[in-house]
Symmetry: C2
Subunit: 366 residues, 2 copies
Amino acid sequence: MERPSLENLETPAALVELDRVEANLRRVDDYARQHGLRWRPHTKTHKVPELAALQLRAGASGITVATPHEAEVMATVASDVFLAYPPVGAARLERLLRLPPRVSLSVALDSREALEGLSAAALKAGRRVGVLVELDLGMRRVGVQLPSDAIALARAIGMMEAVEYRGITFYPGHVRSPVGQQGSAVSELSSRLAEFIEHLSGAGLQPQVVSGGSTPTLWRSHEVAGLTEIRPGINIFNDRNTAAVGACTWDECAYSVLSTVVSTAVPGQAVIDAGAKALAKEEGLAPGGGYGALLERPDIVVRSLSEEHGLLDLSSTEWRPRVGDRVRVVPNHVCASVNLHERLWSMRDGTVQGTWAVAGRGWGAP
Amino acid sequence: MERPSLENLETPAALVELDRVEANLRRVDDYARQHGLRWRPHTKTHKVPELAALQLRAGASGITVATPHEAEVMATVASDVFLAYPPVGAARLERLLRLPPRVSLSVALDSREALEGLSAAALKAGRRVGVLVELDLGMRRVGVQLPSDAIALARAIGMMEAVEYRGITFYPGHVRSPVGQQGSAVSELSSRLAEFIEHLSGAGLQPQVVSGGSTPTLWRSHEVAGLTEIRPGINIFNDRNTAAVGACTWDECAYSVLSTVVSTAVPGQAVIDAGAKALAKEEGLAPGGGYGALLERPDIVVRSLSEEHGLLDLSSTEWRPRVGDRVRVVPNHVCASVNLHERLWSMRDGTVQGTWAVAGRGWGAP
């Protein structure tokens, strides 16, 4: 095969700029060191064990996963894995507990049912699993509502076999305002968290680990009192939404989808071969709307997506690409786009360096 | 491994009811026969060659694909493949033209650039490719705008080597109103199409093939004058949007995602392990909004999706599922959901019959 390049790669193709990835990882490691926080990146963003290895070499203290299959894949390079998701159901639990014994495993959960299932399965598998009690600090997705619920669950963990209370966890995914305007949301988080910590400590259940954080709130994590660990995911690549809230600059976006213009027949637009099955239909936080923007022309927006078609809005530009031209699109939400690709191409100085399988996609072999 | 069942399958799992699939295929074949139409199902919905084979056995005259990789996969079972997408770029063209020579191949395109690339590549590959001129009949995505453009492109096809003018094609994806209210949209389609056919015929370019249709407009295809072929995709499985517009009943939905309740900590909702990475975030046409509804309780809606979390809205029901309970979700748009799964489980009478790899996902090995 011809050496792959930006000119001859089959499109759509998911590209990763290595220089930018390395700089993004240095930046989070510097921040974490400066504030005495551990960082445990969420690998659901890339699902690539080689990139998890890069994060660990850059200073990460362990990794986070969302599914047992991601845990399987990441266990090939990581010795400390946190499943930030309640492992419910026999098949999920069995897969999770088949991880190599050398892997230190912890999970998040918010119910007695999930805890009982985990304890029984861990006992059967002959391994010990750390548990963080999941708190709802305003996201309203999962997590116990009251300090008394957290105390009851932490006590239950202490009374069950093969599980161990390690602390508390939360995800502030509801905070999506610009970084400069997050002050009140972050202080609200902080005071709700303080209330949980105070009650737990008062009950003799002081959390050893207080794990939280997202990419949008990443750079204000030090303002959350009591936090010991951050779990940014997107930050390795960044994306259009992260740039829109000011948690990265456009030049820090390391991921884009190379695509080809396939039609210009309808006036005012150009159609590219990156559609919803390459970019993902994810809500945009950028003022221009749409589902992504061009890396080299961030004012040109992907206005709508069909499965294999992306429509570039040319209504406010004189630029007129021709059929066959190639463009690179930064999607709104990188995690959803990566999940649509079987491989990522790594790039440096405009040339393809290699390829990684997105090994953590899906739910694994039955 | 234990025999997989609805009780022990690892979730999320994509399930396909075989009885419903067979009935859905019989229904479209009966309709097509009754109206003298050929049907060439769009296999982008399932991406499974075994299901394409089932469609061909049920009476389909060929199959439709969206990508060269789908063509590769479907060529293992089909001898007549239509790529309803302009093949632009050397890598795409090479992949497409490496299809086994026994496969009769045709493509849609709307530009001179796409035509020239195809002709040169086909000549080099030593094969003949049929071309349908793509028309824009109101979708405003791709397709030539005017009869004069269609004539110019059809003439250009006639003058180039290794390509052959076969007719015209369009996709009425903009018609998403309820079937009973499609009368004026369909007659508008029909009159725009008639204008193209008249001009082409007047120029000695009468189209042999007039290919169109979608699943929402499927049952009104016979009202489109001049149509020779329909290309429904979704109709093999159906989905919540198809039921919402009345192009199927709820009992004709053959696809659902089996999932497990993992959290009920936040009042008024239950969280399932089918999120955007299992169901897909696709706009809903049903009045209840959301991203899907429960197969057995269509009034219960998946109100929002994170990557691995689906939030069931329980605000208007007394039903309270428990952590560990299992539910089946019919997604808004089945094609986007299937594309997120590496395999589908086939079901009959409540038991798992087997599994198919979703072999046409992605863009194939480089």
